[in-house]
């Protein structure tokens, strides 16, 4: 069967550059970067190079990058530290209703421990209202955390404006930029952000590795204890092959950033035009002018999103209803609910997300199969 993978926001295929550099490290550089000897030095050099590659993608100094096991760890670390920085005094954290569970659930846990947490609603287009955000910041606010671009809808938040508002109030600002890295130009140096979380596997790096950008001068209390790696900010022997793959993926994505953006945008609009032509009542979720070029979230009223995803899978087309973590458990998407999408319509949504390797033929295949599948699923629902 001709398989089409359109679930890049769940995870992207490994880029060949990452694969080749990782294999090389796995085969030839087994040393521990903390070791004194030559083997250690080789691993250390590989690590340094990767750190530079990631830093370059962000336009920041290499020593502001702390490697982690992924964005979940990075998000947890920042939120927990902010809550604890209050040292017994009132701790207030501000975030947003469409955040990833690695933010929302950690905030829930911190709220249970006594933190005051404000979860801001979003507008119908999925974006935060700046005035509402500003009004939520109080003298006791220890951190504001807003994701750069949403994993389900691709909606991009006005991060620069939000970060400036926070900075003006003296509130540290964190962003989960997992879906933005390698997709949008992230010139962090010019922005007043204190912490930014990243994950390697969303841009064609390996799974199990991520990074946290820490603004020079900002403190980072490690979540784990037990070593001085990453300048004492993240103990534990570094995942050298993973980090090297991450660096390679950043370099590769960075080199084609603008080209890929234009291509993705063209493919996305072709897909959307095709969907609208055959299914005129399809509804796009998230304002197109503020959405990642490689993400399209569409509701097909009267069809079950679950059944659509399964039906397309049986045709060899991989898409998702929402976050992959929810696959198989299927509560309605909190992201679409927060945007005011009615429950029924939210439950009929599917997400197409793509990247390198996806071409017009893949989109054409989807457009060939989709109308038939949507019609069948709708009919079954009505039966």
């Amino acid at each position: 069967m001709n398989e089409v993978y359109l679930d890049y926001n769940a995870t992207a295929p490994l880029r060949p550059e990452a694969l080749s550099e990782m294999t090389d490290v796995l085969a030839h550089a087994h040393g521990n970067p903390s070791s004194t000897h030559g083997f250690g030095a080789t691993a250390r050099a590989a690590l340094a190079r990767a750190r530079k590659q990631v830093a370059e993608a962000l336009g920041v100094a290499a020593d502001s990058i702390v490697f982690t096991s992924g964005a979940t760890e990075a998000n947890n670390t920042v939120l927990r530290q902010a809550a604890h920085s209050a040292r017994g005094r009132d701790a207030h954290l501000v975030s947003c209703a469409t955040e990833h569970p690695s933010v929302l659930e950690e905030l829930r846990a911190l709220a249970a421990e006594g933190c005051r947490v404000t979860i801001l609603p979003v507008e119908r287009d999925g974006r935060l209202d700046l005035a509402r955000f500003e009004a939520a910041l109080t003298p006791g606010t220890r951190l504001a955390s807003v994701m750069w671009a949403n994993n389900e809808t691709g909606v991009i938040q006005p991060i620069a404006e939000l970060a400036r508002l926070a900075a003006a109030r003296g509130v540290p600002f964190h962003s989960d930029a997992v879906q933005a890295l390698g997709k949008l130009p992230l010139a962090l140096a010019g922005l007043p952000l204190d912490f930014v979380s990243f994950s390697a596997h969303k841009l064609g790096g390996p799974k199990g590795v991520g990074a946290l950008y820490v603004r020079p001068g900002a403190e980072l209390v490690p979540l784990l204890r037990g070593g001085s790696q990453e300048k004492g900010r993240r103990p534990g022997t570094e995942n050298v092959p993973g980090i090297v793959g991450f660096g390679a993926a950043c370099a590769a994505a960075g080199a084609e950033l603008e080209l890929a953006h234009a291509r993705n945008e063209r493919l996305r609009e072709r897909l959307w035009d095709g969907i609208r032509a055959s299914l005129p009542d399809a509804q796009r979720n998230g304002a197109p002018e503020h959405t990642l070029a490689h993400t399209l979230n569409v509701s097909f009223a009267g069809a079950s999103g679950e059944a659509l995803v399964e039906s397309l899978d049986l045709e060899g087309i991989a898409v998702a209803t929402g976050a992959a973590c929810h696959a198989g458990s299927t509560e309605p998407s909190h992201v679409l609910s927060a945007m005011g999408v009615p429950r029924e319509l939210g439950a009929s949504a599917i997400r197409f997300s793509f990247g390198p390797g996806i071409d017009e033929a893949a989109i054409a295949r989807v457009l060939e199969v989709l109308p038939r599948v949507v019609a069948r699923v709708r009919q079954a629902r009505a039966a």
């Binding site: 079950s304 059944a307 399964e310 039906s311 899978d313 049986l314 299927t330 629902r381």
Partner: protein, 372 residues
């Protein structure tokens, strides 16, 4: 010709092997595990293969349905697709809520029948439509074959010990045409042997009994959990004449014929009737619970009309059927006369009718009361 079949996979050995047999027959099997929320991740095969586990909600969030994991593992072994489908709301409204309401009305519900009819053979059939599948296959022990009139009939399985036809009596004929029971011709031991031979992770999974959302068969505990607002209150235990013999901790949850949990002296006493309005349990001696007839509501007949002459009837799951005659009444009611006394038929349970050979299901109805 290869057809696509949706297989309801509960994560137990029976539905695992059902999936294997569909695939072995050259069809495209697509496994689906129903996420039913309350009570069970294991609700896709009534009766025997339902689990008594109640997994706390927090533990089963996000990819954490343990039985779904087993089903997924089996699907991987068989090389078939597997999905988990959320039917929590539907399960609550079609199965849990009626179950609670029936007990509160003093009856003894049998929720597996509604679960089969509504969840598996309506909602899952619709999902089969959505997925372009020919129908739904399950791990039930029952057979579908040609009836004397040439149409499809529902028959007892080869393994009579595992017979689940009692839970399937009200499936319409049109549904039978789109349902497959691949285990119908097999003994349970063969099913296990096949599962082992195929290396399925569920091959030696322990047998589970009873209602999936009633752990250890403790109905009263389950009712308290499902309805925390209406706490049981003590009330009288009396004879039919009103003589008070003792007190109970809440009448709801008792069932006719029940002897345990009464704490009465001078026994044996048996529950004869539950009167929820008075919060009263009426008890009696054994002979008074022998019934010669039962009244039925919502009777359904697979052949379109009530069977004439001698037939067989069972008034509970695993009840050895007795010879009986049926007398249809108005508005879907019927009266069932037994050739010999039947012990404590409980209102709310189903009476299921079989042909004289005690093989083919003829239909049945819901018991509303018994006559002596």
């Amino acid at each position: 010709m290869s057809e696509r079949w949706l297989v309801a996979m509960s994560g137990g050995v029976d539905s695992s092997v059902a999936a294997a047999l569909v695939a072995r027959a050259g069809h495209e099997a697509v496994g689906v595990t129903m996420d039913l929320g309350e009570g069970s991740s294991r609700g896709t095969s009534a009766g025997e293969s339902m689990s008594g586990d109640v997994v706390p909600r927090s533990a089963k969030k996000c990819c954490g349905l343990p039985d779904a994991e087993d089903a997924r593992d089996v699907a991987r072994t068989l090389g078939i697709r597997h999905y988990t489908a959320n039917y929590r709301d539907e399960f609550r409204s079609a199965v849990i809520e009626p179950f609670v309401a029936e007990y509160k009305a003093g009856r003894t519900p049998i929720p597996c029948i509604a679960c089969n009819r509504v969840l598996k053979f309506d909602l899952l059939l619709r999902r089969a439509d959505a997925l372009g599948a020919r129908g739904v296959a399950t791990g039930h022990y029952a057979r579908i074959a040609q009836a004397p009139d040439g149409g499809l009939g529902l028959f007892r399985p080869r393994d009579r010990e595992k017979d689940q036809t009692y839970f399937l009596f009200d499936l319409p004929r049109a549904t039978l045409a789109r349902v497959a029971f691949p285990l119908g011709e097999l003994e349970k031991a063969q099913v296990r042997a096949l599962a082992r031979e195929l290396g399925l992770v569920t091959a030696d999974k322990p047998e589970s009994q009873g209602i999936c959302f009633v752990p250890d068969g403790d109905v009263r505990a389950a009712l308290t959990r499902l309805q925390p607002a209406s706490a049981p209150a003590p009330g009288p235990i009396t004879t039919a004449d009103g003589e008070e013999l003792g007190t109970h901790g809440g009448a709801v949850g008792y069932t006719p014929g029940q002897r345990r949990g009464l704490g009465l002296s001078g026994g044996p006493w048996y529950v004869r009737e539950v009167r929820p309005a008075e919060n009263r349990l009426v008890v009696d001696r054994a002979p008074a619970l022998e019934a010669r007839s039962v009244r039925l509501r919502e009777a359904s007949w697979l052949d379109g009309a009530a069977p004439e002459g001698e037939i067989r009837a069972a008034v509970r799951h695993r009840h050895k059927s007795v010879s009986a005659r049926v007398e249809p009444g108005a508005d879907g009611s019927a009266e069932l006369h037994f050739a010999e006394p039947v012990w404590a038929p409980a209102p709310g349970q189903a009476a299921v009718l079989y042909d004289a050979a005690d093989d083919r299901v003829l239909g049945g109805g819901w018991i509303t009361g018994a006559g002596t």
